[in-house]
């Protein structure tokens, strides 16, 4: 994988963020998952970082040469799965 172009490695499929995008942000001084989210929407799409979350965490640890547990995961918020607003409404009507 190391010989692949980082521009061709998609990290976040929902928001179309590549490894190259992450490297650019790291170089600009953004170090945490929360900051990456805010600038590039990584992990903010329909999967809510269920696909990319671990990869982002891993890349932060690798780039800044810190233990994985020090590369903090993003804040987990509801929902786990997308639910239609009308289904929430119908559920509360019954």
């Amino acid at each position: 994988m190391d010989h692949m172009n980082p521009k061709d490695i998609i990290i976040c499929r929902c928001s179309d963020v590549t490894l190259f995008d992450l490297f650019e942000l790291f170089e600009q001084g953004y170090r945490s998952f929360e900051e990456l989210k805010r600038i590039k929407r990584v992990g903010m799409g329909p999967c809510q970082a269920n696909t990319c979350g671990k990869m982002v965490q891993w890349e932060i640890a690798k780039y800044f040469k810190i233990p994985l547990e020090e590369a903090l995961f993003h804040n987990l918020r509801p929902f786990t799965l997308g639910i239609k607003l009308k289904h929430i409404k119908e559920g509360s009507d019954t």
């Binding site: 903010m44 929902f79 997308g82 509360s92």
Partner: protein
């Protein structure tokens, strides 16, 4: 870490970022911004990303109009390499009954007197602006085409990047633990990472502004309260303006990225710093939005969160120098609207610190206006 500063700003949200930029741009050196968490952790990063000029008080109208004028040019003024996503497609404020229509008409007249291009609309005209609006549940609407959407993250980032280029020192994950004083004057700021000597401190701590005020012995008459919000999956563009209703308790817009954001307040929510999410909010929001904007009910919610409104007694901001503590400046109590007013917050605080002629009258924004006074002018246009 700097050990001495000319100005220390507490808070890494939009207000702190704008104040830092405006001071640096005027040539102030040795500016330090301290943030306990990370950029936009608080209300800025949790807000509804709306910018409006349709207010019911003179002060809010003036602050908002001048702020919009800044946002229109912010991308180039700040020479930002990202995108602040300022989209001026309006705010449509719907009235539920004749009484609300009457209030809006008076507000629109006030707004027009300051050059804000708002207008009243019939139900039918409102539906031309937002085709999927359910006109059965509204009486009329007010519309201002130059209101709109702005990305809270990138707007704050744009201020900070420009500020850093001008030499501002920004430290995140650095909590302020105390402000030290001697003979009634500020001598420095104690942080988790060391002491910074200074005689000038700006309190831009948003939901925690009261606690920061207490560090210099001030009792700022504000409180914080959780307001909840959610975001849906992104879809193709179907809605230009933000749609809001005070009586139905909702604001809802489609961001340029395609997702719908919507929020509402709960006046029974306890005061404090809880920023949690509740199923009660979700149910109430699902009902309200399905009724007012039926097709939006088909969208999937992907995330919900909460953020703090820092409420002042008259729902207008406190942008003020402290009379009792020399060198202490306050920008708080925005009552849910600090993001959209931030350019003026930064400018006015700069003018106060540098002793420049203020861009607008400041009495109605002062901390002292609440002393022994009845509220003269209450802003009621708040969701």
């Amino acid at each position: 870490m700097m050990t001495k500063a000319d100005v220390v700003i507490i808070g890494g949200g939009i207000s702190g970022a704008s104040i830092a930029y405006h001071l640096a741009e005027a040539g102030v050196k040795n500016i330090v911004v301290l943030e306990k968490q990370y950029m936009t952790y608080g209300a800025t990063g949790r807000c509804g990303a709306g910018v409006r000029q349709q207010w019911g008080t003179k002060m809010n109208c003036l602050l908002a109009k001048k702020s919009v004028a800044f946002f229109e040019k912010a991308q180039s003024i700040l020479d930002y390499d990202g995108d602040i996503e300022f989209k001026q497609e309006g705010y449509l404020i719907v009235a539920s009954d004749a009484k609300e229509t009457e209030t809006f008409a008076a507000n629109v007249a006030l707004q027009n007197s300051f050059g804000i291009p708002a207008r009243m609309c019939t139900k039918e005209e409102a539906q031309e602006i937002v085709p999927h609006l359910n006109t059965d549940v509204i009486h009329s609407a007010a519309f201002c085409p130059t209101d709109g959407h702005l990305n809270p993250f990138t707007m704050t980032d744009a201020f900070f990047k420009a500020a850093k280029r001008l030499g501002v020192h920004y430290y995140d994950h650095t909590a302020v633990t105390d402000i030290t004083m001697k003979s009634g004057k500020i001598t420095g700021v104690m942080t988790e990472r060391g002491f910074i000597e200074t005689d000038t401190v700006v309190n831009a701590a948003g939901g925690w502004a009261k606690e920061v005020g207490a560090m210099v012995g001030l009792d700022i008459p504000v409180y914080s309260r959780n307001h909840e919000i959610l975001v849906t999956e992104p879809i193709e563009k179907i809605q230009g303006p933000m749609v809001i209703s005070f009586s139905k308790n909702i604001y809802c817009q489609q961001t340029p990225h395609g997702a719908f954001i919507m929020g509402r307040g709960d006046k029974d929510a306890p005061k404090g710093h809880d920023m949690g999410s509740s199923w009660q909010f979700l149910e109430a929001m699902a009902k309200t939005v399905s009724e007012l904007l039926p097709p939006v009910g088909e969208l999937r919610v992907i995330r919900q969160w909460g953020g703090l409104y820092n409420m002042s007694p008259d729902h207008q901001p406190i942008i003020s120098a402290s009379r009792d503590v020399p060198g202490f400046y306050i920008a708080c109590g925005f009552s849910g609207h600090g993001f959209m007013l931030a350019p003026m917050t930064g400018l006015l605080i700069r003018e106060m610190i540098l002793g420049q002629t203020p861009s607008m009258p400041l009495e109605a924004l002062s901390l002292e206006r609440f002393e022994g006074q009845e509220i003269e002018e209450l802003e009621t246009s708040v969701v």
